[in-house]
């Protein structure tokens, strides 16, 4: 049950981040498969069944432009940010930054903040953020 809840919340959290990542990656032109590989290379694997509908949706919203072009003897659809997409991307990045800053401020009073590791806490079980570190202050006292 907890796993299911976590999985649902994780997907919800990822959804917005994926849009941001796709828009950011498409500052340079990519076709679908290359985009997927590029994102995967940056540590953000994205399912093809998620990516292609997302690309179409973003294009319909005017944030991306695309065209078919032959490359390596195959027709491929290349995507890149539209001028409107550039504006929206930077607005989203600012929003994302503000959100992260707010979360950092919310988490700041907990003891782990002083000893926060430089590396990605999710990668190292010894330094990863533990549930007990997030307990309310009243419970810690």
């Amino acid at each position: 049950m907890e796993t299911e809840i976590f999985e649902n919340l994780r997907l919800e959290l990822r959804r917005g981040s994926l849009i941001l990542a796709v828009l950011a990656q498409l500052r340079t032109e990519h076709y679908g498969y290359a985009l997927r590989k590029a994102l995967e290379g940056h540590g953000l694997a994205i399912d093809e069944n998620t990516l292609y509908p997302l690309l179409r949706r973003l294009e319909t919203q005017g944030l991306l432009v695309s065209h078919w072009r032959e490359e390596d003897k195959r027709n491929k659809r290349f995507y890149r940010l539209s001028p409107q997409g550039v504006i929206v991307l930077y607005q989203l990045l600012n929003e994302n930054e503000a959100m992260h800053a707010a979360i950092d401020r919310i988490l700041a009073p907990i003891p782990s903040a002083e000893t926060a590791p430089d590396t990605d806490p999710g990668q190292n079980p010894e330094t990863a953020l533990q549930p007990e570190m997030l307990e309310p202050k009243e419970q810690l006292q």
């Binding site: 498969y33 093809e48 069944n49 292609y52 509908p53 195959r74 027709n75």
Partner: protein, 338 residues
Amino acid sequence: MTTSRTQPPSTDLVGRYLQAVGFWLPRAQKQDILAEISEDLHSQIEDRESDLGRAMTESEVSDLLKQRGRPILVAGQFLPQRSLIGPALYPIYVLVLKIVALCYVIPWLLVWFGIMLFHRTQMAAHLSSEMHSLGTLWTIVFTQFGIITLVFAAIDRVSIKTPCVSDWDPRKLPKLKVETHTKRRMNALAGLVFGIFGLLWLLAIPNYPFLIIGPAAYFLKAAPIWHVVYWPIVALSIASLFEAVFVIVRPQLTWFPPTFRIATTLLSAWIVNALLHTQTYVLPANRDVAGLAGILNICILVCAGIWAVCLVVGLVIYIWRAVREIRRTVQPATPHLA
């Protein structure tokens, strides 16, 4: 890079897969979407074959497609995500369905169950007609639910075109319902006062029958059934006084009144059952008023029938309230305004 595209197994399977996906796609975008999926699949196959250093087998291609997902689900991702009834109307839709279920389905089922019990001695003779009536009930239920769903879906479509979501005034919201202990006590006190008068009236009836049927008491007599149900009716009246006193003393125990009323409703059901089993409630003192007695008997029978239906509805409401209040008592942390 290998020349996987020329390999029959992958080409054949991919082609069949794309055809299956295409079946679910809208015609206008079909070719475009399929071309893109095809390109992605072939790129993936090329990469895999490059890693393997050989062409992929049919089984490997099959696994790859299986991993991609069922064609209908893959196609579904490209279709607009639309709901029949949107989130703005959904709570009202559920409420209407609940009202229909509460006021129609549950009472009907209970009445049907009652009829089954009533006819239990002649089960074989009535079974087929009663089962038929139950089948009719479900047909009506599904029709009602279907019509409600279609109406709400239509409203949803119209409301999307004419956005009125922001057009509301918080000042027009209903006033906050605050049921304090004092208010509960005052209601119970009023019930107690009227209940005492009611009980006195009830106790006086055997000696002063005109209190219930007026001047007709001079030429109509009570039938023997009233000797059977009189004291249970008095007991009901006393029970209502007890409930009122309890609420005055312990108004915080909100689960008690509905729970207690379940018990009194069951006693009422027994009384109604007894009344419905007889069709003579008043007897004429002479032949001249036999017609009047007959009319009165029919009226009382009809009233008993209506009372039975009211009891069923009341029972459902009391059960629902009892469950709600007990849950609130069990989960005191849940905030509620009442």
